[in-house]
């Protein structure tokens, strides 16, 4: 899936692009929460079964890519009878805006939840503008 979200989109608008790689490269779209406050943006993503070494985060110019692989180990000879999660890859792309400081992105992964903090560049942080009376 090559859908691109902007971090700010209020509804999950789909920019449907043709899947170039086919089913072999198929991946699940992890659900995310994105919250913005005065100093930056926090992104939470559900990545069940993903450990630290299987998570790949990439920021290239203004694109944030989350690529992860679930390492679910199943016992030998398992006969699946009911499957709701049929793929073990997660992939999602976001377009960042220019006031976000991509050099200072910090990420934390705990119990399958990724917390990503993208601060705003110092000059983009809110400040009060004093109105001078002449």
């Amino acid at each position: 899936m090559n859908d691109v979200d902007t971090v700010r989109s209020t509804s999950p608008s789909t920019v449907a692009q043709k899947d170039k790689a086919g089913y072999g490269e198929a991946a699940l779209t992890p659900p995310v929460d994105v919250v913005e406050d005065g100093t930056g943006i926090t992104l939470y993503a559900d990545l069940p079964g993903v450990s630290k070494d299987k998570l790949h985060l990439q920021v290239e110019s203004d694109t944030l890519t989350i690529d992860a692989e679930s390492n679910l180990s199943v016992p030998e000879g398992l006969q699946s009878s009911h499957t709701e999660v049929g793929l073990a890859r997660f992939h999602r792309v976001f377009t960042l805006s220019k006031e976000l400081d991509t050099e200072k992105v910090s990420a934390e992964l705990a119990q399958g939840v990724l917390t990503l903090r993208i601060p705003k560049v110092a000059q983009a942080q809110p400040r009060r503008i004093d109105v001078k009376v002449s």
Partner: protein
Amino acid sequence: MYRSLFPRDLFAEMDRLQREMQQAFDLSPSIRGLGRGGFPALNVGGTPQTVEIYAFAPGLDPATIDIQLDRGLLTMAGERTSKLPSQEDSKSTVHINERFAGSFRRMLSLPDDADPDAIAADYRDGILHITVQRRASAQPRRITIQ
């Protein structure tokens, strides 16, 4: 609250459509319905010795997960607290809200040969894995001819 675990996953949506079509034509569906699209998502499978259940429930405190087995019916319940700012917090804006938050409960019936005394559960990287042993008496065995 209904919330898909993987929004905009085309293959999962196609799979869901196919199953819903199947259910529409099935004249005697299960009394508990399909249960698809709930939280946590479940994968169930079995080996000759065990029944394996995988619940995809990231971000839980393992101590708060409640698993109960009553007459062959396995119930898993718990709560996932929201990380979103509260309504009063006017400094923050929620741009995307797709993750499940709140309490959940999912049930599934185990096969008849499942042993209620031999259940093990572990929680790692957001996946709850429950293993139920099958009764030894139900294991296939060779009968020798006297």
